[in-house]
């Protein structure tokens, strides 16, 4: 551009001045193009779900990210830095090897909602039950069902759709608020069944499923108690702090007792969509 301008002169001053300007413009344009190209590549390789979870996980407060081994007292104060995906966590493998007992297998009635221990749990309040035919059944746990109450709409993945761990496994609209459900497993949806919040998905994992990231045994009641604490914190006002009385049973429709914006926040807090 400038060499054609009548004022331009080929001397060191002009070249350095415009060289600096165009270097800046080139750097900005190249960096922007690089980000756009990587975004296009991510989208093409189906990484959008993992990236969405990465963003959500980063936004979760520290209190919502305790390591599963912190819950059981094996690693006090430890916070998860792996997006609740223990399959690639070195520390998890080490702590798991030292664990001498998987804990109780009897149902617990201390948490105020049903918590059958014949299944595995995901931190996003879904459960997984391996079936004899090799498929996995996935559903919302009782706490999440009480949180969403009677939804106006439940959008579930259609048969044949691929699910990824921590990717979306559906969206629920309830009392005018919307929240997504995290998938606890990798696999292909075989069928969706059930009504409203009581839906289940049957998922074909395409081989032996890797379920190391899911909670089991003694971890489950410990996690449930912590989740109840988090719920108490989320329900409390900033002026009063936690206001839910201990004991008793969680109401069947939490949303009915809350104003809209607070309910929205509680849904996001508990189902890990900040």
């Amino acid at each position: 551009m400038f060499p054609w301008s009548p004022e331009f002169v080929w001397d060191a001053y002009h070249v350095a001045f415009f060289g600096a300007l165009y270097s800046v413009l080139a750097t900005v344009a190249a960096t922007l193009a690089f980000a756009a190209w990587r975004a296009w590549r991510d989208a093409r390789e189906g990484r959008a779900a993992a990236i969405a979870w990465h963003g959500d996980f980063e936004e979760l407060p520290r209190a919502a990210r305790p390591c599963r081994h912190q819950l059981t007292g094996e690693a006090p104060g430890r916070t998860c830095g792996n997006g609740f995906d223990c399959r690639h966590c070195v520390e998890h493998a080490r702590l798991e090897a030292r664990r001498w007992s998987s804990g109780p297998t009897e149902p617990t009635d201390r948490v105020g909602f049903a918590l059958p221990l014949d299944r595995l749990y995901h931190r996003g309040h879904t459960w997984v039950r391996p079936e004899p035919d090799g498929t996995l059944t996935v559903g919302l746990d009782d706490m999440a069902r009480r949180l969403v109450g009677t939804p106006e709409r439940v959008e579930l993945p259609a048969a044949g759709e691929r699910l990824q761990v921590n990717g979306p496994a559906g969206r629920i609209r309830t009392r005018g608020r919307e929240v997504r459900v995290l998938s606890p497993v990798d696999g292909t949806v075989v069928e969706a069944a059930g009504e409203g919040a009581a839906f289940t998905l049957r998922v074909d994992p395409g081989g032996a499923p890797d379920l190391r990231h899911l909670l089991r045994g003694a971890e489950v009641p410990a996690w449930a108690l912590r989740e109840l604490e988090r719920l108490q914190g989320a329900l409390g006002s900033s002026a009063l702090g936690a206001a839910l009385a201990d004991g008793g049973e969680l109401v069947a429709d939490v949303g009915a007792a809350l104003p809209g914006d607070r309910y929205d926040a509680v849904l996001g807090d508990m189902l890990l969509e900040p």
Binding site: M1, F2, S5, P6, E7, Y13, H14, F17, L21, V24, L25, T27, V28, T31, L32, F34, A35, A36, R38, A39, D42, A43, R47, A48, A49, I51, A52, H54, G55, E59, P61, G176, E178, G233, A234, G236, S238, A239, L240, G241, G260, D261, D264, A265, G268, D269, E273, P274
Partner: protein, 413 residues
Amino acid sequence: MDERLLPRGRSRAPFGRFLLWLVPWAALLGVGLYAAYLCLALGLNQTNMDNRFAFGLWIYLDLTVIALGAGAFFTGFLLYVMKKRELAAVINSAVVIGFICYSGAVAILAIDVGQPLRAWFTFWHPNVHSMLTEVTFCLTCYLTVLAIEYLPLLLRNRQIKKRPSMLVFEFELHKVMAVFALVGTFLSFFHQGSLGGLYGVLQGRPFAYRDSLAAWPSTFFLFILSAAAVGPSFVLATTWIVQKVSGRTLVKREVFDLLARVSGSLLLVYVLAKSVDTLVWINHTSFALGVDPATFYAFAPFGTWALFAEIVLLGLVPALLLALPRTRRNPRLLVPAAFLACAGVAMNRFVMTVQTLALPTLAFDPFLSYTPSWQETASFLAVVAYGVILYSVSFRYLNLFPQERELASLPEA
């Protein structure tokens, strides 16, 4: 009505009340746009500037908002390059404020220079001997960088991030943000410097003229240093204002402490450099140009009080209050100190712009006075209104303060 657009877990005023808050600002913006139209359509005769007083309210306030907007580049530099992670709590707000300051300054410059349809001439036929050419280039480049830095905030909006393509772009953009922070620092360094250098090379204006350090006059470095020093104070002050207006705690106490510490330390260095520069100017530069520096302060209202106010009252005092741990931990001193620091940079830009032009330069020159016309004032107030509106909308719909939600869930002390 707009609940689906609001960030989750952040309580916001009802939509009607929000609109009511915007109405007076929108009215101010409307009046200012009309004034700007008059200036563009009828010319600079709508202003009270003339050939002798060619820099008025617009340039003075432009220089001030550009200095205050330095909070964006300097916070970005501290966060992405110096790895001061605590500043992640205010970087989004700093970027929005920087974008407002720079876009507002460019808009006002477009009115001042006139003929906006020929704005491209400055790039196609640049006057390479003018520091203003470098300023024009840097301002436009940095405004582009700020717009890019603003983009991820928009893309993280609750509804927009549902679109996978937007989400991945935001993610990848965030990963290269350090490059933009560095480019922003480079650009800011030069245009803040050139704005100062512009005055320092005015040999015909002995009040502003300064000796050169290497190729640049000392004002080049003083403008950079003062902008970097005051930027964090402005981020602190605006965050405090937003906290008061919204009635919410938005950042942790440590963040204010860090901003104050950085601002106070740099301000001390600036005050020292400015003092040395003033002493050299009084004892050497001014006499070398044949002018007794005492004559600069013989015209009311610009007495020596102005020099004292600029360097001591609005320089050294806030620098000490911000730098000393005991005073900066006292909220009753911290916030006023940040405001004083901002007032100090505004005073410096006022002195360099208005006092420089008001003082006579030849024996037969009168002392000039200038009062901005309503069109000048209204045009600038339109920029203020635009800033308030854009910031309010950003605060309502975007996640400007990542700590807000966590702090809202804590019981009040």
